[in-house]
């Protein structure tokens, strides 16, 4: 790839496969029985999920006292995990909606899977605010509906905006995902020989016949949904950042939070998508559909967002000094050199330093290297939320109310369980639905598009 010819547009799918080959490759995992590896993988994730379920059971039975949350650190692991998982979801929408609006063809191979990860990540994230309220069975009151108890929500609280933002985001993401699936359901319906599958695919394909008129309407709906999803995805992490930034707490209240959180979310989301795709393309023989070029582009986006996040860290520090507010200065010195310095430096080295390796083309195109960096990024981004949430709370305004937060085994159990849930859903997804959009990939194969200009 050392000499790129800029006069040519390179196809995002390698080797110009025939359209029927594409169909076969993508549908194959749905038609073969799960192999041993699949069972091994799912037993690992189910075990993790089980650990989470037990930890949650313990929490419900004995109460939230089983967690490390204390006074002053009222927001411990649940909020850290919530922000982390919502962030993971952002990459999916960025790939499927925003890159679609930017007409980036390379997104077509990975959009379906990334969007699926969005849905599962948001589902996983949703658990945490629910359990963090302590009495999840009362969470229905978060929706403002007139009730006998005269309970009414606080419309001025960003925590409530979160409820609206995340639920709207989930709904639109789900519809967007489903609309994209309809033509594929129809393809599978036409190809399958199994009677039961035929019924299921027929129902979900909503009578799709691949007709010109269907495609026209489909393209319009898809465009409109992408247009909706774009501001929504930005609003979600913006509002998550408001949870912190509207307060007057040093280290939380700073104006750069909204774009900084969005950049961080895309950063960690891309790292997660890249990690999972590396396995998917290998296991399902899709290395010519999810190409090395695609992975390299994702790595470039990680490099960019990593630097945006680094910019925000630096800006916060600079303005904390420049602003001359004593409490703010203390909060930042405490972050870097206080009792949580270890967490802070893990965050900086994972998020700011490790993606700098992506400056080298070789690293961007070497699978083990990029995989390792993306793992570091996810560790770093989890620690970023930990640093923000915990360091600011642990040093209250009065030294008499300072405290140190240590998570308990139950906290870790729930965290492990969240990964278990996410990966279990992903594994089930790979066996029930096409992980790559058949229709969208067909559209970007060589020769699929009418060409213009002189011939």
């Amino acid at each position: 790839m050392s000499s790129v010819d800029y006069t040519k547009e390179y196809s995002v799918v390698e080797g110009s496969p025939r359209l029927s080959e594409i169909e076969d490759i993508i549908i194959r995992p749905l038609n073969v029985k799960p192999d041993k590896k699949f069972y091994m993988a799912i037993s690992v994730t189910l075990t993790m999920l089980l650990i989470g379920v037990i930890s949650l059971g313990v929490s419900f039975y004995y109460g939230t006292g089983m967690w490390g949350n204390n006074n002053p650190v009222g927001w411990g692991f649940p909020i850290v995990n919530f922000v982390f998982w919502v962030g993971i979801g952002h990459a999916g929408t960025l790939i499927s909606a925003i890159l679609f609006l930017f007409r980036q063809k390379w997104r077509n191979g990975i959009a379906r899977f990334a969007e699926g990860m969005t849905i599962f990540a948001v589902m996983t994230a949703g658990i945490f605010p629910l359990i963090h309220v302590g009495r999840p069975w009362l969470a229905g009151y978060l929706f403002p509906y007139p009730n006998q108890h005269s309970l009414w929500v606080n419309f001025t609280s960003p925590l409530l905006w979160d409820v609206f933002a995340v639920s709207t985001y989930f709904t639109v993401s789900f519809i967007f995902w489903y609309v994209g699936l309809i033509p594929d359901f129809a393809t599978m319906r036409d190809k399958t020989t199994n009677a039961l599958k035929k019924v299921i695919y027929s129902v979900f394909s909503l009578g799709w016949r691949h007709s010109n008129r269907h495609w026209q309407n489909y393209e319009m709906v898809y465009l409109i949904l992408a247009g909706f999803a774009t501001p929504l995805v930005l609003s979600v992490h913006t509002i998550v950042s408001f949870d912190f930034a509207v307060s007057v707490l040093p280290g939380w209240h700073t104006t750069i939070f909204p774009p900084y959180f969005v950049a961080g979310a895309v950063f960690s989301g891309f790292a997660m998508v890249q990690n999972v795709l590396i396995f998917i393309r290998k296991i399902f023989d899709m290395e010519h559909i999810i190409t090395l070029d695609t992975l390299e582009k994702m790595n470039k986006i990680m490099m960019l967002t990593g630097m945006l996040v680094g910019y925000a860290y630096a800006m916060e520090f600079f303005i904390a000094w420049y602003g001359g507010v004593e409490a703010e200065q203390f909060a930042f010195v405490n972050r870097a050199f206080g009792p949580y310095a270890w967490a802070y430096w893990i965050m900086v080295s994972c998020n700011v330093l490790s993606p700098q390796l992506f400056w080298f083309k070789k690293v961007r195109r070497t699978i083990p290297a990029m995989f390792a960096i993306a793992v570091f990024i996810n560790v770093g981004m989890w620690f970023e939320r930990f640093v923000i949430t915990v360091t600011s709370l642990s040093r209250d305004f009065l030294p008499s109310s300072w405290g140190y937060y240590s998570p308990t085994l139950v906290d870790f159990g729930i965290l492990i369980g969240s990964f278990g849930m996410f990966f279990t859903l992903l594994l089930l997804f790979t066996k029930t639905l096409p992980v790559v959009s058949i229709a969208e990939v067909k559209a970007v194969v060589d020769g699929a598009q009418p060409t213009h200009g002189d011939h």
């Binding site: 800029y6 007409r103 408001f242 509207v246 104006t255 909204p258 800006m315 303005i319 002189d454």
Partner: protein, 396 residues
């Protein structure tokens, strides 16, 4: 089927005479007003000179950013028009001259340049290590150096390609652009903090650099769009430019109108909500007396009008609408500079007279002259660029 364009067809053509004349006339009028303003009211003239400097910085550095962005993103649809941004980016060469009147008024503009004031103020003496004339000058020189250096490096390669059609130059420019981006982010951020945020040295906001950046990109994009539609209507780009190109410009401008609003709103709501006096006073200044009406007008001008003006799909490809909206956005960006700078000079009253009218004329004049000089020496299209043919043939 050839992969290159017919170079002869896209060679240099002179701009309409009107552009040249208008440039010189506007610059002459603007310069006279500038001199008169400094004679009559030095303080006010200094503030206006600062607005002028920041506006031209936006166009110049923003255009250089757009050029680098095209290389990095691998975009082809904008390649036929990259020269417009390259020409506009040459404004960075004269920024040091535009900065002279601001330098003359340093003491009128910046509170922190008065050592006695700083000594008596605990907060200001706390940041004296950063806000002092010596370090300020070094920083400003560094910004200019970065911008001018990268302007030469990138545009020279682009120019060389006109004759050699060497693809390696594209590759070189991609690398240069990657190097430029982090430096651009740092320089534009601290540039805006130094020149404008420090007008109120007690005030601070971590998003300030991003705010100025969003306006910068929007303004340079608007300048590019206007020039592109104007010149295309006069036939300067041949007959291959279609509504697909127009639409892309409209959509990008629309996107950045929203991005600007998002950043501006984030800053406002967070400061309003937390209600800390050390932050709110900056917005209060813009809400007192006449400034309230100016601020309301500003929201309409900078967001509501361009938002609805570019929302619908047909309006994004209508050349008339694009020309109007891009001029409007340029006006809104100057308005933005006014809104950022002027409340420091005049509390409660929004000053507006021949001085405030005259300086923007100078800005327009300078842009036209620079564009004219550059286009008389260079091809209006990067005829040797390997991506040009694909750019001309670009369709959705």
């Amino acid at each position: 089927m050839s992969d290159t364009v017919d170079k002869q067809y896209y060679q240099k053509k002179d701009l309409p005479d009107g552009v040249k004349k208008a440039g010189y006339i506007l610059t002459a009028i603007g310069l006279i007003i500038l001199v008169l303003a400094f004679m009559f009211d030095k303080t006010r003239a200094s503030f206006n000179a600062l607005m002028l400097l920041m506006f031209l910085t936006s166009i110049g550095v923003g255009s250089l950013f757009l050029v680098a962005l095209e290389y990095l993103g691998g975009a082809v649809w904008s390649t036929p028009f990259r020269r417009i941004s390259e020409f506009l980016a040459s404004i960075v060469l004269i920024l040091p001259i535009v900065a002279i009147p601001v330098y003359l008024g340093l003491h009128e503009l910046y509170h922190w340049t008065h050592l006695d004031v700083v000594a008596a103020d605990k907060i200001l003496s706390g940041k004296a290590a950063y806000l002092n004339e010596g370090f300020f000058t070094i920083r400003v020189a560094a910004y200019f150096l970065i911008w001018i250096l990268f302007y030469y490096l990138i545009t020279n390669n682009s120019k060389k390609q006109d004759t050699s059609s060497d693809q390696k130059l594209t590759k070189k420019n991609i690398k240069l652009s990657a190097g430029f981006m982090p430096l651009f982010a740092i320089s534009i951020t601290f540039g805006s903090i130094d020149w404008m945020m420090s007008l109120e040295p007690h005030w601070f906001s971590t998003i300030y650099g991003v705010y100025y950046f969003s306006g910068t990109v929007l303004a340079s994009l608007a300048a590019l769009t206007y020039a592109m539609v104007y010149l295309n209507e006069k036939g300067y780009f041949g007959d291959k430019i279609k509504k697909d190109h127009y639409y892309s410009f409209g959509a990008l401008m629309f996107g950045f109108v929203n991005f600007w609003a998002y950043i501006a709103f984030s800053q406002l709501i967070l400061i309003w909500y937390a209600n800390l006096p050390e932050e709110t006073f900056w917005f209060m200044q813009r809400w007192e007396g006449e400034w309230m009406y100016v601020s309301l007008l500003f929201m309409v001008a900078h967001f509501i009008v361009p938002y609805f003006g570019l929302l619908a799909q047909p309006s994004k490809m209508n050349p008339k609408r694009l020309k109007f909206m891009s001029l409007w956005i340029l006006f809104a960006h100057y308005f933005d500079m006014y809104w950022l700078v002027m409340p420091t000079m005049s509390k409660g009253e929004a000053p507006f007279s021949w001085i405030e009218l005259g300086f923007p004329l100078l800005a327009v004049g300078i842009i036209l002259i620079v564009f004219n000089i550059k286009s008389s020496k260079n091809n209006l299209m990067p005829v040797g660029d390997p991506k040009l043919k694909r750019g001309l043939d670009f369709r959705f």
